[in-house]
């Protein structure tokens, strides 16, 4: 993301969304017992919000890491490789999360 204002805005919007998604995920998926967690995972609304959490968190992580790479990695080649690694890692995590959510919805 070449535009720093755009980056700033995306970072804040994703952070604002996670302000609600993180407590939701904690109370619905981690606070209850294992059996209750499995039950909560059957609700479509919960599954949708869990997917939204993954999308938001991975995007927030990806753009945050890109800024850190720009700040600390100054050699162009290493900078490029590091960013490619971050993009691939984020894409893999998101695709796998989407696949698991798809399996969950399919039942």
């Amino acid at each position: 993301m070449k535009n720093p204002v755009q980056h700033w805005l995306h970072q804040r919007i994703s952070a604002f969304l996670m302000l609600f998604l993180i407590p939701f995920c904690y109370y619905v998926f981690f606070y209850p017992s294992v059996e209750q967690q499995a039950l909560n995972l059957k609700s479509l609304g919960n599954i949708f919000l869990l997917f939204l959490f993954f999308v938001t968190a991975i995007y927030h992580m990806m753009i945050g890491l890109n800024i850190m790479i720009d700040d600390y990695v100054h050699r162009k080649l290493f900078n490029c490789f590091a960013k490619i690694f971050v993009y691939m890692k984020s894409a893999a995590a998101l695709l796998y999360a989407a696949y698991l959510i798809f399996l969950l919805v399919r039942g």
Partner: protein, 120 residues
């Protein structure tokens, strides 16, 4: 490589700079948290291994240390993130509120970490 002028060796660490770099470090910790959640979802969906393996990994000393690190990272990054969101709206930029909110972030992130640790 060109020489850099001294910085870390010269400047006294302040609360503001420490909390700022801790926000970046805990952001990395948060990244591991996302992968832990992904693994948890994998176990629930795939049922390839039951929770005993997950529990075995995280009941060892290193597992507990790692997990507490992730929990503290998420708590701190969350609390300090709220502080940054207030700054994004233009509130709390004077010196006194910056220091006051900084100490509150440390306190709340410790309380939140302990609360999550006890209850999970």
């Amino acid at each position: 490589m060109r020489p850099l002028s001294p910085h870390l060796q010269i400047y006294k660490p302040e609360l503001t700079s420490i909390l700022s770099i801790l926000h970046r470090i805990t952001g990395i910790g948060f990244m591991f948290g996302i992968y832990v959640v992904l693994w948890w979802l994998h176990i629930h969906v795939m049922k390839a291994e039951d929770f005993s393996f997950f529990k075995k990994i995280f009941s060892s000393f290193f597992g507990q240390f790692f997990l507490f690190g992730v929990v503290f990272s998420v708590s701190y990054h969350f609390c300090n993130g709220i502080r940054y969101l207030f700054w994004a709206l233009g509130f709390g930029f004077n010196l006194k509120p910056v220091y006051c909110s900084g100490y509150m972030v440390i306190l709340f992130s410790i309380i939140l970490s302990v609360y999550i640790w006890i209850n999970v």
